[in-house]
Every structure is written in C-alpha cells, then in structure tokens.
C-alpha cells in the first residue's frame, strides 16, 4: 500500500512539473514578442523594453526557466507588472473570499446533490427520478453567469431580499456574510450539484442491484439503513472522486461568479490581470489553482487507498 501511495505522490510531482513548464512556456512559445503582447497595443518601444527587462525576457531561455522555477519553489511568484506588488502578496490578500465561496458551495452542493441522487436511484424510473435527471441535464446546460443574473433579478431587483453584490468577511459580520454569499453559492453550485447528483444516482443504482442489498431487504432491515449504511458506503468511491474532480469546475465557475457578484477574490484578481495583461499574476493564479486542485485529488486518492481495501491500482 505504501508503494502505491508513494507512486501516487510521485506522479503528482510529475503533473505539477508539467503544469509549471506549461505555464512558463505559454508566454515564451506564443506567437509574437511576449513583451510587446503584455505591453498592449498602445505601448511605446520604451514600455516594451521596460517589460522585457522586468520579466527578464532578454536573458537566455534556460536561464529564465531555472530562475523562475527556483523562485516558484521558494514561494516567490514574481512581481505584478501593474501594481508592482509581489504576486504572492496579491494572492494572499484575495484568497479569503474565494476559499469562503468555494467551501460554502461545496457544502451546499453535497448536501443537496447526494440525497437527491440517492432518492433518484432508490425510486429509479419514477417521476422524481426523471425530475432529478432532467435537472441534471439542465444544470449542465445553463452557464453560471446566466443563472447568477436570473437570481439577482429575482432576489435583488424584484423581491429586494438579498444584497446585489459585494462581500463581507465572516469575521466582520457573520449575518451579512451569509446574506451576501447565498446567491453566489447557489449560482456556482448548480452545475456541481448536477454533476454530483448524476454520479450518485449512477453508482447507487449499481450498488442497490447487488446481492447484499437483497439480503439486507430479506432480513427485514429498514430502508434508511440499507440505503445509507450498506448501499451508500459501497457507492461512495466514485461519488467522492467526482466531488474532488469537480473542483476544477468550481474553480472555473469561481472566476465568473466573483466577477458577476463583485466579490474581491482570486477570480476577480484573475480577470483583472487578464484585462491588464498582467502576466506574472496570471501565471501565479494558474499555478495556485492547479496546485490546490491536484493536491485535493491526491488527498482523496490516498484517503481511499487507506480506507478501502478494494482499491489497488
């Protein structure tokens, strides 16, 4: 088992190394002069030269790469071209709202999706099941920002129940925090809920058709313990794996959701950086997001290798 875990950790290093090379290479292998692209259309030659100097683009490629990688490894993600602040500081400043929104969305989504997935599998073929599956297809089809604006229009413009935009830290004012985070959470959660509900239904269906479930029925066990203790436990590997992999979906959605609801998090930082072509910030954010994504999935895989004796890959 130990060698499995070590192998898995090792492959994570490889993946992150490829990500790093890619993030570094994107700037250098893109068509055209990277310094000119970053400087924008209105830049003078001096501007371009200044950026080239600042990013070290005038040095040989391998030297730049070694320098950049060794800096990243000690947590130095470079300096923002726009604000002249270290990228790691910018990220640290913006991380709280993003973590808060991602966590509320994950909790909210799992609490909704897993139960409806279970019920859909238990009553498969029923109207309820069809409704859940219909919702799942719909959830995949409606882009985050479309749903977000429909929520804003209903709850902020028409009913005036919730604040339209902005973010209050939970440490400053918990009530305002929850009022403000409700709509972003629902908007961001829809696709994630669709995804988890679908996989829950599929893997529960498979579990429910097993012999041991029939045995449990036969010995007179009530429905709830059969579903939760026997079926869900055995169906949980794909569900938890999907929750982990679906985080990629959340990260993409966070960028959009924060932009719609004017939440000052990493997503907004990313969008602002793109519009300003602040490439060191873009690089930093991509590295952080991908790193977190890869680490969470590593943790989930290790967790299951330890817990579930059936997993041997």
């Amino acid at each position: 088992m130990l060698s499995l875990i070590l192998k898995r950790i090792l492959s994570t290093f490889v993946v992150m190394a490829v990500v790093a090379v890619f993030v570094f290479g994107m700037l250098h292998f893109s068509p055209g002069d990277p310094a000119a692209i970053i400087a924008g259309d209105l830049a003078t030659n001096e501007d371009i030269e200044r950026i080239r100097e600042k990013l070290g683009l005038n040095r040989p490629l391998h030297e730049q790469f070694v320098r950049w990688t060794s800096n990243v490894l000690v947590g130095d993600l470079g300096t923002s071209i726009f604000s002249d602040l270290p990228v790691s500081n910018l990220i640290a400043q913006r991380i709280e709202p993003t973590v808060a929104l991602t966590l509320t969305t994950m909790i909210f989504s799992v609490c909704i999706a897993v139960p409806i997935g279970i019920v859909a599998a238990w009553r498969s073929g029923s109207l309820l099941d069809r409704a859940v599956m219909g919702f799942a297809v719909f959830g995949f089809s409606m882009p985050v920002f479309v749903f977000a604006y429909i929520l804003i229009w209903i709850f902020a413009a028409k009913l005036k129940l919730l604040p339209v935009m902005g973010y209050t830290s939970i440490f400053d004012d918990p009530v305002q925090f929850f009022r403000g985070i409700i709509m972003p959470t629902i908007a961001l959660g829809v696709t994630y809920i669709a995804l988890i509900a679908r996989i829950t239904r599929a893997s529960m269906l498979e579990a429910i058709n097993q012999d041991y479930i029939r045995t449990a029925h036969a010995k007179g066990l009530a429905i709830a313990p059969i579903l939760f203790r026997h079926a869900l436990r055995n169906a949980s590997v794909p569900i938890v794996t999907t929750i982990g992999i679906g985080i990629a979906l959340l990260i993409g959605g966070v960028v959009v959701t924060e932009s719609v609801f004017a939440i000052p998090g990493l997503g907004r930082l990313t969008v602002d950086a793109i519009l300003r072509r602040d490439y060191p910030v873009i690089q930093g954010v991509i590295l952080i997001f991908s790193g977190v994504y890869v680490l969470i999935n590593l943790a989930i895989d290790i967790f299951y290798t330890v817990l579930d004796p059936r997993i041997r890959y």
Binding site: V23, P31, V137, V164, I274, I282, F289
Partner: protein
C-alpha cells in the same frame, strides 16, 4: 460502395426508417430540433433579424420589449432581438469548430500514443499536466497572450479539450490492440498505418462522436464566459457573451438585455447535451458522463 448505391436507389425507405428511429428517441429528437433551429437562425440571420444588429439608435435606448423591438433595446438603442439572432453565428461556429478540431487532434494523438509504447508515457504525462489546469483558466491564459479574434478564441478553447479526447481514444485503442483481429492483421503483414486506419479508428468513432457533442456544449459555454469576462470574441461582434457583458451594468433596470441571450445560450447548450445523451445511450451505453469528461 454498395451501401451508397442502395441509399441512392431507395431514399424514401431510409428516411422513413431514420424517422421511425428518431421518433422512438424523443430526447435525441428534441436535441436535434433545438440545434436545427439554431443552425437555421445562424445561417439565415439577415432574414430573421428585424433590425441592423450594430446600428445605434440613441433615441431608443433601454426600451423594454415591444412590438417594434421584440427583445427590447440596449443602452445604445440597438435591437436586442437582432443582436441575439446574429449572436447564434458565433456560438455555433465556436462550438462546432472546437468539437471538430479537438476530435481530429485527439484522434491523431490518441491513436499514436495508444500504439507506440515509447511515446505513450511522455505524451500522457503532458496530457495529465494539461488536465490539471482548469479548462476555463487555461483558455483565459491562452487568450490573454494573443490578439482578440474569433480564431484565437477557438484555438484557446480547443487546447484544454484535447487531452480529454486523447484519453478517450487511447483507452479504446488500448483495449482494441489486444484483440484477436488486430493480431490477425499483424500476422497478415499489415503495417501500423493500415491497422490504425482500417481496424482501430472505426471503433473509436462512436465514443468520439458522443464526446464531441459534450465538447461542443462546453465550448459554447466557455466562449460565452470568455466574452462575458471581456477576454473573448472582439467586443464589436454581437456574440451572446458580449451582449450580456454590455448589459450587466443595467441588470436592475433593463434585465431583458441579459435574459434573452441567456435563454438562447441555455437552449443551444441544452440541445447539444440532449443530443449527446441520446447518442450515448444508443451508440455506447457504457460511456457515462463522468467528471473526467467535463
């Protein structure tokens, strides 16, 4: 050759059989109808549009839907309905192009990696790395490094989709290469290109078509997101994402600018997803939409 000849000889029978096949699959039918209407809308935009989509009309700013302006007007007095009609062109162009390009690339790379052991490890590690970057972020980063144009949007959305296609093709190839008919072909002296083209590739078509529909759906969404964030299709082109981006400031007073492009966007993606689900159930029931295909 003979199949084509029979098809030409009795077209009526074929059409009727196809129609009956479709009739028994209402989901595929609904998807096809949605996509079909959007294609008609995109191809015949000048016929459907009631106004010039980019003509400003300062006296008619932010007017709610009416008989004259079916979907209302935006902050510059442009007709939202006509803009939405023309917006279908960009969405479909991007969706179909990305689906096509990523399928071709995925097929080419996947066939090679599946059969050439030495390349397999290297290419798959690169693909794993690419897949670790959330696709919207990767597309955004690629866009930020290029000039804003529809072609660049297509390329930026295609690159993150390729690894998923490669994985799919490779997994099919890996199971196929152990099959007896491949051994038979090898022992008959068939070369690698011949085996790939005649024996392996046809078997990848069904799962690839299904996957391509999902890629198409997500490409349409990502294009809208990129445009909405201001990093996509050039702002002077009325794509649905652009229309919504311009209308976002007016969400409280002129919701129609956001609502109608949003509805069309959802409908076309829904159509593609329905078609994909229907095809998957028919062509390859083993292929389930999992998070890996997102």
């Amino acid at each position: 050759m003979s199949a084509v000849a029979t098809a030409d000889a009795v077209p009526a029978g074929r059409v009727r059989r196809a129609a009956r096949w479709l009739w028994r699959r209402p989901i595929v039918l609904a998807g096809l109808i949605l996509i079909g209407s959007m294609v008609v809308l995109a191809l015949a935009s000048p016929i459907f549009a009631t106004h010039d989509p980019i003509r400003l009309n300062p006296t008619q700013r932010l007017k709610p839907p009416s008989a004259e302006h079916w979907f209302g007007t935006d902050q510059l007095g442009r007709d939202v309905y006509s803009r939405v009609v023309y917006g279908s062109q960009i969405s479909l162009l991007v969706g179909f192009s990305v689906a096509f390009l990523s399928t071709v690339l995925g097929l080419a790379i996947g066939l090679v990696t599946g059969f050439v052991r030495k390349l397999d490890a290297v290419i798959m590690r690169i693909m794993d790395g690419l897949m670790a970057i959330p696709s919207i972020l990767l597309a955004i980063a690629l866009i930020s490094l290029s000039k804003s144009s529809v072609e660049n949007v297509i390329i930026a959305i295609t690159i993150p989709e390729v690894p998923r296609m490669v994985r799919l093709v490779r997994s099919v190839v890996l199971t196929l290469r152990e099959q007896l008919f491949v051994d038979a072909a090898v022992s008959l002296g068939a070369g690698l290109p011949r085996i790939l083209a005649l024996h392996i590739m046809p078997n990848t078509i069904a799962p690839l078509i299904v996957q391509a529909t999902y890629v198409c759906a997500s490409a349409i969404i990502i294009e809208a997101i990129l445009s909405f964030l201001g990093a996509g299709t050039p702002p002077d082109i009325p794509s649905w994402g652009n229309i919504m981006a311009e209308g976002r400031t007016y969400v409280m007073i002129a919701f129609w600018i956001l609502l109608f492009p949003g509805i069309f966007l959802t409908l076309v993606v829904l159509g593609v997803n329905l078609l994909g689900d229907g095809l998957r159930d028919t062509l390859d029931p083993r292929l389930r939409r999992s998070a890996r295909n997102l």
